[in-house]
């Protein structure tokens, strides 16, 4: 659906995007993450035909974004960063305006506007001016205009920025829901969102893609350690000294908890069968086991590791 090949874009002397290639299939949700200024928005702006690429090609549904810009634009719904909207327009007027230019046929237009208002839960605000809306509702208007022509491709630049946790969950579910039939690329800073929503994660750093895989795979391939959480009822000091002597335990950390038992995070090599060994260890010492599980992959660490090593590498080169 989306093919990005050797995309390079610079602003004056700064290279914003450097020889980036990736593709997204129909029905795929791709999460775009990276530090500020890594080139996320620039890449999206090239895909949506707002900026031209210096080098490389981008096609959307087979249409080159530079040569057949209008055809490509027809197939994209776009929510730019920080959701620029005409604040002096009414919500419905604005959606009508976009629908008309998006070529939504006159007789289905009102119905379509009603649909997107439903999807984005905009009913309570539909008779207001956009300028009077809160950040969350503006974001929904932005989403509604991106959806109005039922495009096969959605490009969302930080759709959850500035929203409260409830709204974030709502938008996330919405993206998941819509993403069943569409190709979606969205950027975010919130890493847990990527794990919860995406089929694939693209991590971009200094204008280059440093990772391109599903969140789980990414965690497995990047991190050579796993963390297991264990809760034990027993004498604290003895537990700690014995834990130190277990050879598979690379590191452990006592968690602050208000329960009567003590909780630990045990770090071990990722291929090690840590949980059964720990269970054995607890029963051998006649303590009681209250909880034992492998913690979820920590994308934050993956992200830090990938983007840091990249910046270190470029730092060395410089």
């Amino acid at each position: 659906m989306i093919e990005v090949k050797n995309l390079t874009k610079s602003y004056g002397a700064t290279i914003a995007v450097n020889n980036v290639s990736f593709s997204a299939q129909a029905g795929e949700i791709v999460g775009f993450i990276g530090p500020n200024g890594a080139g996320k928005s620039t890449t999206m702006r090239v895909i949506t035909c707002y900026l031209p690429a210096d080098e490389g090609t981008v096609t959307v549904d087979g249409y080159d974004v530079f040569e057949e810009s209008i055809e490509a634009r027809k197939r994209i719904g776009y929510l730019p960063e920080s959701t620029p909207l005409y604040t002096d327009m009414g919500v419905v007027d604005y959606l009508k305006f976009v629908a008309q230019i998006r070529g939504v046929a006159g007789h289905t237009r009102n119905e379509r506007i009603k649909d997107v208002i439903d999807i984005c839960s905009l009913e309570p605000m539909m008779h207001k001016n956009i300028g009077e809306l809160s950040k969350g509702y503006r974001q929904r208007v932005g989403l509604a205009q991106a959806l109005i022509h039922d495009p096969p491709v959605l490009i969302l630049d930080e759709p959850t920025a500035g929203l409260d946790p409830y709204q974030i969950i709502e938008i996330r579910n919405l993206i998941k829901e819509i993403g069943r039939q569409k190709t979606i690329i969205f950027s975010t800073h919130i890493l847990s969102q990527v794990a919860a929503t995406c089929d694939r994660t693209l991590i971009i750093s200094n204008g280059k893609i440093v990772a391109n895989d599903s969140p789980q795979e990414l965690a497995l391939s990047t991190m050579d350690q796993q963390v297991t959480q264990i809760g034990i009822i027993g004498p604290h000091e003895e537990i700690q000294t014995k834990l130190e002597h277990l050879d598979f335990v690379l590191d452990f950390k006592k968690l602050d908890s208000e329960t009567e038992y003590s909780c630990y995070h045990i770090t071990s090599h990722k291929d090690h069968q840590t949980a059964p060994e720990l269970a054995k260890f607890v029963s051998q010492n006649n303590w009681e086991l209250t909880e034992l599980y492998k913690t979820a992959i920590d994308l934050e660490n993956v992200f830090l590791k990938l983007t840091q090593s990249e910046s270190q590498r470029t730092g060395e080169l410089g």
Partner: protein
């Protein structure tokens, strides 16, 4: 066509949703009528003619038209909506034409609302109706030319004040070039002057249409330049 219409509707409603349009129209009427009746020594002249009114117009437009066009593109840039607009499947020239037409409508309303002046004159004396109608037509043409220049000025900046001042400067340049020997026919005022005498020559029409076309073309280029590579 459909796109131009959609944009025309949007721009027109945003003009009238804000106080800018009303304010501009009222100020224009107050200033032009004031200058005409008092500073034009209308009562002392004891002539029921509008010639002096029309002679003021190139100078009044110099300030009022850029005030209306300054926001056309600069505001889109400032608010970031230009990114939304230019990623819609609409061609740059359709955007420019839509915006031009909506501000042209505003100018037309503004100019037509000065109708109490010729009506007053017809009570006081016997003005030349044909000449006045021709002059109003000339006013619209000249207004269109000022508009296209102001719109072009608005595309080069994201700051409305800069758009306003550079609009005035560009219009002023196009106005005073007509006072330079041999360049008389390039000035915005010269052709208007001949229309106000009651003769609408095709050369005058061609002049205004080419100025409008030229500056709209420049505006399209200026807007498109972001997409060049």
């Amino acid at each position: 066509m459909n796109n131009i219409l959609a944009l025309f509707k949007k721009e027109t409603s945003s003009y009238f949703n804000s106080p800018i349009a009303y304010f501009n129209i009222i100020a224009y009427l107050a200033v032009s009528a004031g200058l005409f009746f008092w500073f034009g020594f209308f009562f002392e002249r004891r002539q029921a003619q509008m010639t002096y009114f029309f002679r003021l117009m190139p100078w009044i437009f110099l300030f009022f038209v850029p005030a209306m066009t300054m926001r056309l593109w600069a505001e889109e840039k400032k608010m970031g909506t230009v990114e939304m607009l230019m990623t819609l499947p609409i061609k740059s020239h359709e955007v420019i034409i839509g915006k031009f037409l909506s501000s042209f409508l505003l100018i037309a309303i503004m100019v037509i609302l000065s109708f109490p002046i010729p009506i007053t004159l017809s009570f006081l004396g016997d003005p030349d109706g044909g000449q006045i109608i021709a002059s109003y037509l000339g006013l619209l043409l000249m207004g269109g030319a000022y508009l296209s220049i102001g719109l072009c000025a608005s595309t080069i900046t994201s700051d409305q004040i800069i758009a306003f001042i550079s609009g005035i400067l560009m219009c002023f340049g196009m106005l005073v070039i007509g006072f330079v020997p041999y360049f008389r026919d390039f000035g915005l005022e010269s052709h208007f002057g001949s229309i106000t005498r009651g003769v609408v020559d095709t050369r005058d029409l061609i002049y205004y249409f080419s100025v409008i076309g030229f500056f709209l073309y420049l505006s399209v280029l200026s807007v498109e330049s972001k997409r060049w590579r």
